[in-house]
């Protein structure tokens, strides 16, 4: 038995380039979308930390212990509303941090470095930063309060702008794929108008004719976008490996990979579905008297 289509769409010259374009669009689109998600996921955690943390630098006095000063500062902090926890960063940790930045050969005398106090905000109550700073300055005018939130807002805006840009790019890629499908379908309809006329004359409804186009578009969309998504996935794996090599924590990347895999796995179905819909609407509009 022959299950061939009633319209010879497979051999259509007009639509021959379509799978290539769709594959390419899906490749670019999914990569864009996945990296948008990746930026969002990576920055979300980081933003949370910045939003709920401030840092204090308590000056070290050479030859004298900074412990009493620290104790006074911690006492002020414990009485300040909006603060969840405050603790000094251990000297060993500061040493490791400095060594990772400056190298092990550079002699650093830790006793001259200020003590860092990390303060976690509870996020539920507002904290009056100028008031806290004023109270700390009474203890010692050299105490520095570093509030990360003002520049975090700027960085957030920058990230949001990149996300909007990447999302727009993804949307444009999808739109281009749809417009290309529309034009290819319209051309195909024109090429096969005689076959369409015969189908009409033997009683075919517009829906029956549209179904031929939409099934073809769905098949093309699924195959082309599966290939595009597979290549995009391989590219993503490659870039992720490079990022890991560059020092990005592998845990965040591996947890994100599941999301990315879902995007790559779903993109052929989404693209195929949109192409099918686009083909159907184009044919139904084209056949309208």
């Amino acid at each position: 038995m022959n299950n061939s289509q009633d319209l010879p769409l497979k051999n259509d010259i007009a639509a021959r380039f379509l799978p290539l374009i769709i594959g390419l669009m899906v490749y670019v689109g999914t990569l864009c979308f996945v990296f948008t998600l990746f930026i969002l996921s990576a920055t979300h955690l980081w933003e949370n930390q910045l939003r709920t943390q401030i840092t204090l630098e308590v000056p070290a006095s050479p030859g004298a212990s900074s412990a009493p000063l620290q104790a006074q500062v911690l006492q002020v902090l414990s009485k300040t509303p909006g603060i969840q926890q405050a603790s000094a960063v251990p000297k060993k940790e500061v040493e490791t941090l400095l060594q990772s930045l400056l190298g092990t050969t550079l002699p650093v005398d830790l006793q001259f470095l200020p003590v860092l106090i990390e303060v976690s905000l509870n996020g539920r109550e507002p904290i009056d930063i100028p008031m806290l700073e004023a109270r700390l300055k009474i203890i010692s005018p050299q105490i520095q309060l570093i509030d990360h939130r003002p520049w975090q807002v700027q960085v957030s805006s920058l990230i949001n702008a990149s996300v909007v840009l990447a999302s727009t790019l993804t949307f444009l890629v999808l739109l281009t794929a749809l417009v290309t499908t529309t034009f290819a379908t319209r051309t195909s309809l024109l090429i096969h108008r005689q076959v369409v006329e015969v189908l009409h004359l033997i009683g075919a409804t517009n829906e029956y004719i549209a179904k031929q186009f939409q099934v073809h578009a769905l098949k093309q969309g699924l195959i082309a976008s599966a290939i595009g998504a597979a290549f995009a996935f391989l590219t993503f794996i490659g870039i992720a490996a490079l990022l890991e090599k560059a020092g990005l924590p592998s845990t965040s990347l591996s947890s994100f990979s599941i999301q990315a895999f879902c995007v790559f796995a779903l993109s052929p179905f989404v693209t195929g579905g949109f192409m099918m819909l686009s083909a159907r609407l184009t044919v139904m509009r084209g056949l309208r008297p």
């Binding site: 076959v195 004359l201 075919a204 409804t205």
Partner: protein, 228 residues
């Protein structure tokens, strides 16, 4: 519901370039009737058939098909009217990319009949018209006469209420013409109204059916004769 399959009242058509083919054609086609449509070349036989299968709109006058006015009905309902009409086109209009069996089973598939039954019916019909060994052939590889038989098989496979045939015996020998006429008569016995446009004098002479003759833009109905 109308008693007629088709009713033409004062129908006329004028092509854009100016040629007027009817002045006011008025006739009816009753259920189960059999008519030959005759007239000189260029008189408008094919145009009249086109109007009957809704391939051409009249310039004036009114048409009713199966009791419906196709000119005012919703376009989405037109396929339902067309599904009751089988057409054998003069130029066959077979789909070259489909095999013979696919061409013949197409009207059934279009009506949503399952493929297995469609192919079984198509095979039976093609065997009957002598094309049982060309099921998997493409129309382009067949002779004119064979293509005509495929076109006829495609038109009759749905057992339409109205069968229109434009010169259906134009490309076949006399024996095959008689055999095809017999097929049309069998279909007619089952209740299908038949309108055959033809020039075939032998066919016209040996058949008792009434003629619709187009002469000078009007249609003259010649009554049924007794069988010779």
């Amino acid at each position: 519901m109308s008693d007629f399959i088709a009713q033409f009242v004062g129908v006329g058509h004028q092509y854009k370039k100016g040629a007027e083919i009817f002045k006011g054609a008025t006739f009816n086609i009753e259920p189960g009737s059999f008519h030959f449509l005759t007239g000189p070349s260029g008189s408008g036989k094919s145009s009249l058939l086109k109007m009957l299968y809704l391939g051409l709109k009249p310039t004036w006058g009114s048409i009713r098909l199966f009791g419906e006015d196709p000119l005012t009905m919703k376009p989405s309902l037109l396929p339902l009217l067309r599904q009751q009409v089988g057409v054998v086109f003069q130029e066959f209009k077979l789909l070259d990319h489909l095999k013979v069996i696919d061409n013949v089973s197409l009207p059934l598939r279009v009506r949503g009949i399952e493929a297995k039954r469609s192919y079984r019916d198509a095979r039976e019909l093609l065997n009957w018209v002598g094309l049982g060994d060309s099921l998997q052939a493409y129309p382009a590889t067949l002779s004119g006469g064979q293509q005509q038989r495929v076109a006829i098989a495609r038109a009759v496979i749905t057992r339409p209420q109205l069968l229109l045939a434009d010169e259906p015996t134009g490309n076949v020998d006399d024996d095959m013409a008689i055999k095809l006429l017999h097929l049309f008569e069998e279909l007619n016995k089952m209740g299908t109204a038949i309108v055959i446009a033809t020039h075939n004098q032998r066919l016209l002479e040996r058949s008792p059916y009434p003629h619709l003759t187009i002469r000078r833009g009007t249609i003259i109905r010649t009554p049924k004769r007794s069988k010779p």
